[in-house]
């Protein structure tokens, strides 16, 4: 073999020779017309061959050198940690679904995707569509033969016959052996808890796209990650709130309602119910109005519950103290509005009395002392002027006057002229009782303390707890009391606006409570839409009569679930800490207040 580097003998330079001598050359004799070594073309061929050999040799040498370097690298330098896994032994361990599972805060599955089989047909490939339709109808008695025939003879290249086959149905269709039928593996979204969390979870369409609630709001998160999504809600709390709200709606013949349980310390929503609701497994089975989320989307004038914010604002700004008072003798006439009290006392009232009697006149005067700009700023800081950034798309935008005039200040002080969602109110109240810090509400479990915003100082927050407790003991919140849980709360009853004015017959009755007042854990809020009084409530349909008992029932049951240690409410330390002096008349009449 001739190596690429072997020196070849250069052909001698051609020498001129007469033709006669050439005949003696052997080669010339054998190949008379082939170019000789003395010929230029021959030499060029050899040169080409040699350079090709050289290139090939260089490439080969380079390849071997690369292999050698890599060998040394692997043998001497590669660390075991960076070694790649064997490529052929593929281990498939994790089951992946198109959408992540949703669990409650304790890990109970509330929404998950199950693999199902769909049956489809390609009509152009069917041999005998009419007969196929007839045979398929025998497997699916619920399908109409005529419809099937129409589907199978249609021009469309692909039609679905059945979206969710059971394994038994699949077997039966296979045994029919009809060519042109196809099975398609698909996923269907299942909500094991049924209606329980309808408005939180929302639902998906048949192709697995979120159309409402968390399913829509966190669509990307659910699609991208297989990790279960952990909600802040607790199935047990949710069940309690759902049941008690449904019972209250049934008893008082309301058209709907909402119930919220919030963790006062973190802003986590533990329960969110809006009724009437729907079954997310079959959303089309309920009327469309049932999808309306009264807890986070519906905005209402929530009435006297706003006096909590109004009083806190007055105390925080220094415009009033608990020992101050206002003259609530006469109704206030502002333009065509007449601000009057539901239970007029017709005298001078102290700040705690204004709160306990729910005096609109006193609240309005208190708000005027603070002033419209400060009130607007306070409401803004509480988040009452913008939609809550929640994980679901159904968040209501508060409605408030463009120009904040003194008359608006007066009406907002007792919860009119400013429409917010029940969630706004619950999170606001949480910030009033938890020491004064507003935590943004969330539907997802929080593992670490969120960063809150201070709204009122701790002493004011404590004053609010005392006032709420006083109202529950001596005022309109008696029906919300649960012995041992130190419940404090405030009623709210607002007439619903109807076009030009307010309708005194249709109202929003609500009750917001927090417990235990010595160290608030939860805020419970129940709103009833257009409740009607019954014989038991003497025809009253105000918050104290219709919503407070539902709040009490919820507190009693979730307190036990959460394992909250009941306190001795009559203990002198607590009595002393929460004592607020009221004039003698109030103590006597408070029991009659609603």
């Amino acid at each position: 073999m001739i190596g690429p580097f072997r020196k070849t003998r250069r052909p001698k330079p051609p020498e001129f020779s007469p033709r006669g001598r050439m005949t003696h050359d052997r080669r010339c004799a054998v190949l008379p017309h082939v170019p000789t070594r003395t010929d230029g073309t021959f030499r060029r061929a050899i040169e080409t061959g040699r350079s090709r050999l050289l290139i090939t040799g260089a490439v080969m040498a380079f390849a071997f050198a690369a292999v050698g370097v890599r060998l040394v690298d692997l043998g001497a330098f590669a660390s075991p940690a960076t070694q790649a896994e064997t490529t052929h032994a593929v281990t498939e361990t994790a089951m992946a679904t198109d959408r992540a599972t949703i669990v409650d805060r304790n890990g109970v599955i509330v929404a998950t995707s199950l693999t199902t089989t769909a049956l489809a047909a390609r009509p152009d490939r069917l041999l005998d569509p009419v007969q196929a339709a007839r045979r398929l109808a025998r497997v699916f008695p619920e399908l109409d033969v005529a419809d099937l025939e129409a589907k199978l003879t249609s021009d469309s290249p692909f039609v679905y016959i059945h979206r969710k086959l059971t394994p038994k149905m699949e077997m039966a269709v296979m045994q029919l052996g009809i060519p042109g039928l196809e099975f398609e593996r698909a996923e269907s979204r299942v909500y094991p808890q049924g209606r329980l969390m309808a408005h939180v979870l929302g639902f998906t369409d048949i192709d697995g796209r979120g159309l409402a609630g968390i399913e829509q709001g966190l669509e990307t998160r659910l699609k991208e990650s297989d990790e279960p999504l952990r909600l802040s809600l607790d199935v047990r709390f949710q069940h309690v709130a759902h049941q008690e709200l449904a019972a209250a709606i049934e008893t008082y013949d309301a058209i709907g309602g909402a119930a919220l349980v919030m963790d006062a310390r973190t802003g986590e929503v533990l329960s969110l119910v809006s009724l009437p609701d729907f079954d997310p497994n079959k959303p089309a089975a309920s009327p469309d109005v049932n999808r309306f989320n009264r807890a986070t989307f519906g905005t209402y004038e929530l009435g006297s519950t706003f006096k909590i914010f109004n009083t806190a604002m007055a105390l925080e700004s220094g415009a009033a103290t608990l020992s101050d008072g206002y003259d609530a003798t006469n109704p206030i006439q502002v333009g065509r509005f007449l601000i009057r009290d539901y239970h007029g006392k017709g005298r001078y009232l102290t700040v705690p009395e204004i709160f306990v009697y729910s005096s609109n006149i006193g609240s309005a005067k208190m708000a005027l002392d603070v002033g419209p700009p400060a009130q607007k700023a306070f409401m803004g800081a509480l988040g009452m002027l913008q939609p809550i950034a929640l994980e679901i798309p159904e968040t209501g935008r508060p409605q408030f006057p463009e120009t904040w005039r003194p008359v608006n200040t007066m009406t907002v002080s007792y919860g009119h002229g400013l429409s917010v969602t029940p969630l706004h109110l619950a999170s606001g109240v949480a910030s009033m009782v938890n020491g004064g810090i507003l935590f943004p509400p969330t539907l997802l479990a929080r593992d670490e303390m969120p960063i809150g915003r201070r709204i009122v100082s701790e002493p004011v927050s404590f004053d609010m707890r005392r006032l709420l407790r006083l109202n529950a003991v001596a005022g309109s919140g008696k029906r919300a009391l649960v012995p041992g849980y130190m419940v404090g709360g405030k009623t709210g009853t607002a007439d619903k606006p109807n076009g030009s004015g307010y309708n005194r017959r249709s109202r929003i009755s609500s009750f917001v409570a927090s417990f235990p007042m010595n160290d608030p854990r939860y805020v419970v809020y129940v709103v009833l839409d257009e409740p009607q009084g019954t014989k038991e409530t003497f025809g009253f349909a105000t918050g104290g009569w219709v919503a407070a008992p539902a709040v009490a029932a919820i507190i009693e049951r979730i307190g036990a679930i959460a394992g909250i240690q009941p306190v001795e409410e009559d203990a002198p330390e607590l009595q002393h800490a929460f004592a607020i002096e009221l004039p003698e008349e109030t103590k006597r009449l408070a029991s009659l207040q609603q």
């Binding site: 089951m95 109970v108 307190g559 009941p566």
Partner: protein, 126 residues
């Protein structure tokens, strides 16, 4: 000698070739097994997934409540007063009455009352 060397080479080549093919086939068989096991694992996972969903469905609070009402009619809702702190639960009386109670109580015991205290023991953060 030359023939011997050639024979040794031939045998070695044969053995190597056989071993190589043998191992290759074994690996292929194992890979098949692995694939089968992976498939089974997947199926099991899917089944577990379905069962979890079913468990969630069968343990719905309203269904548990219905069952409770039917099969445990004597059970009532818990009353707040039934909740006790762990400290309020008295230690079991020592079986040996001759010894003083303090010997039986562990050193870590807080000054817990010896008798059952109803849920009236208050806790205040104020």
């Amino acid at each position: 000698m030359r023939a011997l060397i050639i024979a040794v080479w031939v045998v070695m080549v044969g053995v190597t070739g056989y071993a190589l093919f043998h191992i290759t086939f074994q690996v292929e068989a194992l890979e098949g097994q692995l694939a089968e096991l992976n498939r089974q694992i997947r199926e099991e996972q899917e089944r577990i997934h379905n069962l979890k969903a079913e468990w969630s469905y069968n343990s719905r609070p309203d269904w548990i409540e219905t069952l409770g009402e039917e099969y445990m009619p004597d059970m009532n809702r818990m009353h707040p007063a039934q909740v006790l702190r762990i400290q309020d639960i008295p230690f079991r009386r020592p079986e040996n009455e001759g010894l003083p109670a303090s010997v039986e109580t562990p050193a870590t015991t807080p000054k817990a009352p010896a008798e059952a205290v109803p849920a009236t023991l208050m806790r205040t953060s104020q």
